[in-house]
Each structure stands twice: as structure tokens, then as C-alpha cells.
């Protein structure tokens, strides 16, 4: 509201960056904006579709069904490859698919969020970090939907709900933080290096098979195990496995590895955004 007194300084621009403290403060005051934009992006996606939100669940579900069928019937030794034979293979696969599909959709959208948000970013200021945060937040809606399907499978097919089911919560937290951290770095870097869009989507295809999503780490040759366990998404995937009672021995190594990824990527992302916040829009 304009008043007779002097309005507070909205911003002072004297260089390409915004000091980290100031950036975080204005990020905090943009929290409503992030929520509103994420909700809009998610619900608008299914506007004018007949099936609407069903699509949010359908895609990972179909993928999980296909993989389950292929691996349990066509690939020799596929069935029974889960760490704990009491966990049905379909539940085992879907428990990996839920965090993976979140990771892949959130990170893919987050990594290109600043470039894709050019229309908004060039016309009005908010910390540019808001855009990758919105992309990751948007992906939480389908995550919740697929999680409900997973819970239904746990109840219907086994091993049944229990205290250990709660392991999905740290799994989600780890997955969200991981996507936020990676999206921060890539969203800023992609403005300068447009190749990253394609590098990231190719990388995700490779990572899908390298990360123990559809197989347990125990099936990986010994010398490669450590590599697989230390991949960024291994932590959340393994925590989800723990929730269906089928975790690998290297669970905590994977969790720590994910935490390291979060800290390193998060710090790099914050530094990059803080340094270039006010000029990222120039190159859009």
C-alpha cells in the first residue's frame, strides 16, 4: 500500500548476484508463490482430459506392470530376485518405481525450469530458484498419488502395513531434497549450457538401469556393487525397499551417499544461483 512514509527498499541492483542471505530471505517470502504455482502447474496439466488425475497414477503404474511382467516371466531368474522372498515381486518393483518416477520427473522438470520459465522470469522478479523449486513441488502431487497405490499394494499383496511402512517418509524426504539440490545446480547451469537438457534426459535413461530400481543390489556383480549403491537416487529407492521389507545390506551406505549428493549439489546450486540470480534472465 503506498503511503506517505518512504516505502522500504524493494531491491538494489549493483551486480549479477544476490547475497545468499538476501536470496534465502526472499525465497522464504516467495513460499506462497511456490505453492500456488506448483498447484496450478499440476492441476492445469490434467484440465480438459477425460481421465484427469488417473493419468498421474497410470504412467508409473503401467511402467511397473510392464516391468513386473517382463522380469517375472520373460527374464530367466527375474522372479525371486527381490532381497526378501516374502515381498511379492510386483510390490518390490513398484516400491522402487514410486521414488524413481518422482526422482526422474522432478529432476527432469527442475533441471530445465529456469529456461522453460523464461516467459515469467523475464517479466517479473522473484528469486530464480523459485522455478526449480516449483517444478520439484509440482512432482510431489503425483508422488502422493502413486504412494497411495503402493500402500494399497502393500495391503493387498503383502507384506502388509506395519511400523516399517513408515520408512517411506524418510525416503520421500531424501528424494525431495535430492531433487531440489540437483535441480538447483542444473537449472542455473542449463542457462549457459543448453546441452544439459539432453545430457540429463539421456543420463536418466542410463541411471534407471544402474540404480537398483527393478533389481536388488545383491544381483549386481561384487565389484560393481559399491558404484550402484552410491548413485544419487539409490538412497530413496532403498528406503522405500525397507518399507516393503526388502532392503539391501548397503541401505545406509546408499542413504549417506544420497546425503552427500544433496549437500554437494545443494551448496553448488545455492552458490550458482546466488552469483547469477539477477542476470540469468538475460540469456533466456
Amino acid at each position: 500500500m503506498p503511503t506517505e512514509e518512504t516505502a522500504p527498499v524493494a531491491f538494489t541492483l549493483s551486480g549479477p548476484g544476490t547475497p545468499l542471505r538476501e536470496l534465502l530471505r526472499s525465497l522464504w517470502s516467495s513460499r506462497t508463490l511456490i505453492g500456488v504455482l506448483a498447484r496450478k502447474d499440476f492441476f492445469v496439466r490434467y484440465r480438459r482430459t477425460r481421465l484427469g488425475l488417473v493419468w498421474a497414477i497410470a504412467l508409473p503404474l503401467i511402467q511397473a506392470v510392464v516391468l513386473t511382467v517382463v522380469f517375472s516371466n520373460l527374464v530367466p531368474g527375474g522372479r525371486g530376485s527381490q532381497a526378501d522372498p516374502h515381498t511379492p515381486y510386483s510390490v518390490f518393483v513398484f516400491a522402487g518405481m514410486v521414488p524413481w518416477s518422482f526422482f526422474s520427473s522432478a529432476f527432469l522438470a527442475g533441471a530445465t525450469a529456469v529456461v522453460d520459465g523464461a516467459n515469467l522470469a523475464q517479466r517479473i522478479y522473484f528469486p530464480r530458484m523459485v522455478l526449480p523449486l516449483v517444478a520439484v513441488t509440482t512432482a510431489i502431487f503425483p508422488l502422493v498419488a502413486t504412494l497411495l497405490v503402493l500402500l494399497a499394494m502393500i495391503v493387498g499383496l503383502g507384506p502388509g502395513l506395519g511400523l516399517s511402512t513408515l520408512w517411506v517418509l524418510p525416503g520421500i524426504a531424501l528424494g525431495v531434497l535430492l531433487c531440489l539440490a540437483l535441480s538447483l545446480v542444473f537449472s542455473a547451469a542449463q542457462v549457459y549450457l543448453r546441452d544439459l537438457r539432453f545430457a540429463v534426459s539421456s543420463g536418466m535413461t542410463v541411471l534407471f538401469y544402474l540404480t537398483p530400481v527393478i533389481y536388488p543390489v545383491s544381483r549386481v556383480p561384487h565389484e560393481l556393487r559399491l558404484l550402484v549403491e552410491l548413485l544419487p537416487a539409490a538412497g530413496p529407492v532403498e528406503l522405500f525397499r525397507r518399507a516393503v521389507g526388502s532392503a539391501d545390506a548397503g541401505l545406509w551406505r546408499s542413504v549417506v551417499a544420497s546425503l552427500v549428493w544433496i549437500v554437494v549439489a545443494g551448496a553448488a546450486g545455492l552458490a550458482l544461483h546466488s552469483k547469477r540470480d539477477r542476470v540469468l534472465a538475460d540469456l533466456l
Binding site: P2, V9, A10, F11, K40, N119, L120, Q122, I124, Y125
Partner: protein, 393 residues
């Protein structure tokens, strides 16, 4: 009072990329050699705008207007210098930023309001006013993809204005709305200006700049060429635009026509600032050209105090004999001051035909103002000296 917008020594350079094909044919689009160079959008701009001021920014395409607006939005930072903006900024640069075509007007108001920094309860409180101003009450639950461009702009403008910003940035967008809506927009902008909102208008429409802004800044190739009254700013803008035409694209070459003297005189050859209605008035201008000029012609324009053109004429179809290099020539423009009482300004320019229907500005005589004492009971924009007779049939 503290300025609501402060720019000191602001320069902005952009990295420019030029792609050159490495190979011929279609493949040339894939294999390119990129040449990088710098180009300066703004250089050393100083500008202070006080709360409640309305500033018009004019300049040719590429003069730096958009860069300036982007800085005022906070979207881009200067390469050197400092920009400080106080209070909440609402950009009307392409209204309805973030409007989603599939969402209804109502939903878009909430999203757009949040983008402009309003909280949900704030939007709730202002929602009715927004709908009322935009006159879209029967369309508010329709997806905006069904809106006409005018409706779109109306809604966007209503949200931006009802956000009660401290700084409102207005681009050409208002040109989309119809006349009645534009009038209401300017009225509304005047209202919020009187409560202390600073308004910056960027436009090529000199009428809206003249009608609304009390200060004008002309940008020319990234520099402030003029900062003062709107009237002078517009004169400066036309002046620059004309020079450009004579000088040619690269800004060099061409010649120069210099104004030696200029006077507004009455029928006895005395300088006038005050004239009686109907008396002959003469504008005399003397110029010296240091290049030969073919087909020069004169333009005269008279405006009243409301900024309305009372009369203007370009004598394109009646060019004068050419001017030789180094020659000094005088021209007289004579007219009867058949005008009602009031203040008037007169402008005279000398132009040259450059092609079919095209001309270049050679010299602008400074605008002069003069007062006319009209005949009693005569009102309007011109005194046509009607005769009133009675005929008996």
C-alpha cells in the same frame, strides 16, 4: 522525500551471439560458428523518480527502453552502476503474466495476484473490485482462452492496479484495449498516483505520454538524451528521429542544416507573444545548409493548451527550390490568428523530400508559445469567423 526509483551511473552490456553457418545448405543450421560480441543497451544513465511522479520514457526501437523497464522490475541487473527501487513493483509489461489459457478468470486472478506479491486474503478483499473494473463478471468463471485480447488486458490491468503497487510499470499493452477502457485505465492510474504510486509509462504513442505523464525522458542509443517536461521530451524525440533519417543508418555522413534565426512576428514585424484574434502572424526562420538540399518543404503545427492540434500542414506537394551548400535562406510562414482566447504553441520544421511520400527532418525551430486574445463569446478550437445574416424570403 526519498526517490522511489534511483538509477546512478547505470550501464548494461549484453553478450551478443552471431551465428554464422559453417557449411552451406540445410546443414548450415546445425553447424554454426558463434561470434560473440558486446552490445551496450544502456550507458551511464542517472535517473531519480519521486513517489507519485508519472514518467514517460520514449525512444526509438533499441534505445534501451525495455532494458530500463526490466531493471525496474528487478529482472536484470546493471553491468555497472546501481538501481534502487522502493516498495512493491507491478509490471504491466505484457499484462497477465502467468495467465494460463485453460484456467478461468477467477483462478488466474489468484495466481497473477500471488505473482504480484499479494496474499490470499488480500486478493479475496480486492476480488470484487478487480472484477468490477474489468467488467468481466459474467466471464469470470470462463477459461481465459475464450477471452478476447481486450478482455485479457482488462483483467490483467485490473489485477495490477488493484495490487496497489508502489511502482507501476506500463508498457504498450494498453493500446490493446478500446478507447473507453484506455480512458478508464488512465483515470485509475491517476487515482493511484495521487496516493503516491510512481508510474513509468513506455510508449510510442505520444498522445498518451503527453496526456498522462508530467515528466519525459528520451533514450537514445542507451543514453538519456533529454529529461524534463513531456512537451520538450516529445520535441526532442522527433528531433532525434529526424536527424537519424538525414544522417543515415550508421549515424555518420550526411550534412547539417543549421537554424540561424527564428522569430514569431506580428504584421508590423515586431516579435509577438501576445496576439489579437485575426491579426496576421508570421513565423520567420533563417537556415544555413552546409550541404546541398533538394526539395525542401515546410511543416507548421499549432497546438492549444490542451495539447490538441488546432492546425497543421505539411507542404510536401509544394516543395521550395533547393538550397545550395553554404547558402543562407529565409522562409516565412504567415497565417491569420483566427483563434479563440488562450495559449497556443507553434512549431515549424524544415524537411526535405527523400522519396515518394518520405521525408527527412532538416531543422526544427524551437516551439514558441503565444497568447491570443480572442473575440468575445467565441469558443472552441478555431475561430472560423462565421457570418450571421438575415434574409427575408
Amino acid at each position: 522525500m526519498t526517490a522511489s526509483i534511483q538509477l546512478s551511473g547505470v550501464s548494461k552490456r549484453y553478450r551478443k551471439y552471431d551465428d554464422h553457418a559453417r557449411v552451406g545448405g540445410v546443414l548450415g543450421q546445425l553447424f554454426t560458428r558463434t561470434e560473440r560480441s558486446w552490445f551496450t543497451a544502456l550507458s551511464d544513465v542517472d535517473l531519480d523518480v519521486q513517489p507519485g511522479e508519472s514518467l514517460g520514457v520514449i525512444g526509438r526501437n533499441g534505445a534501451g527502453k525495455s532494458t530500463l523497464l526490466q531493471m525496474l522490475c528487478g529482472v536484470t541487473a546493471p553491468t555497472s552502476g546501481r538501481v534502487t527501487v522502493r516498495g512493491r513493483v507491478a509490471p504491466l509489461i505484457s499484462v497477465g503474466v502467468g495467465f494460463h489459457p485453460e484456467m478461468t478468470g477467477r483462478e488466474n486472478v489468484y495466481v497473477n495476484g500471488t505473482i504480484l506479491g499479494l496474499t490470499r486474503p488480500e486478493i479475496d478483499r480486492r476480488f470484487d473490485a478487480i472484477v468490477e473494473f474489468s467488467e468481466l463478471s459474467s466471464f469470470i468463471d470462463t477459461p481465459v482462452k475464450f477471452y478476447s485480447s481486450g478482455m485479457f488486458v482488462r483483467l490483467g490491468f485490473a489485477v495490477a492496479v488493484e495490487a496497489r503497487p508502489d511502482v507501476l510499470l506500463v508498457d504498450e499493452v494498453l493500446a490493446v484495449g478500446d478507447f473507453a477502457f484506455q480512458v478508464r485505465c488512465f483515470e485509475r492510474m491517476n487515482e493511484i498516483r495521487s496516493t503516491g504510486t510512481t508510474i513509468v509509462v513506455v510508449s510510442h504513442n505520444m498522445n498518451s505520454i503527453r496526456g498522462f505523464c508530467d515528466r519525459g525522458v528520451v533514450l537514445d542509443r542507451g543514453r538519456v538524451a533529454h529529461d524534463g517536461t513531456t512537451f520538450d521530451a516529445i520535441a526532442c524525440y522527433y528531433d532525434l528521429a529526424g536527424k537519424e533519417l538525414v544522417a543515415g543508418e550508421d549515424g555518420s555522413g550526411g550534412g547539417h542544416v543549421e537554424l540561424v534565426s527564428y522569430a514569431l512576428q506580428d504584421d508590423e514585424g515586431r516579435g509577438v507573444t501576445h496576439q489579437e484574434s485575426g491579426r496576421t502572424t508570421t513565423c520567420s526562420l533563417t537556415v544555413r545548409a552546409d550541404m546541398p538540399v533538394a526539395s525542401p518543404f515546410l511543416w507548421v503545427g499549432i497546438e492549444n493548451a490542451q495539447g490538441q492540434a488546432v492546425y497543421s500542414e505539411a507542404r510536401m506537394n509544394h516543395p521550395m527550390p533547393g538550397i545550395a551548400a553554404g547558402e543562407v535562406v529565409s522562409y516565412d510562414v504567415q497565417f491569420p490568428a483566427d483563434l479563440p482566447s488562450g495559449n497556443y504553441t507553434i512549431g515549424v520544421t524544415l524537411r526535405a523530400l527523400t522519396g515518394a511520400g518520405e521525408s527527412a527532418l532538416l531543422v526544427t525551430a524551437p516551439r514558441q508559445s503565444f497568447y491570443v486574445t480572442g473575440r468575445p463569446h467565441v469558443h472552441g478550437t478555431a475561430d472560423l469567423r462565421a457570418t450571421f445574416t438575415r434574409r427575408s424570403s
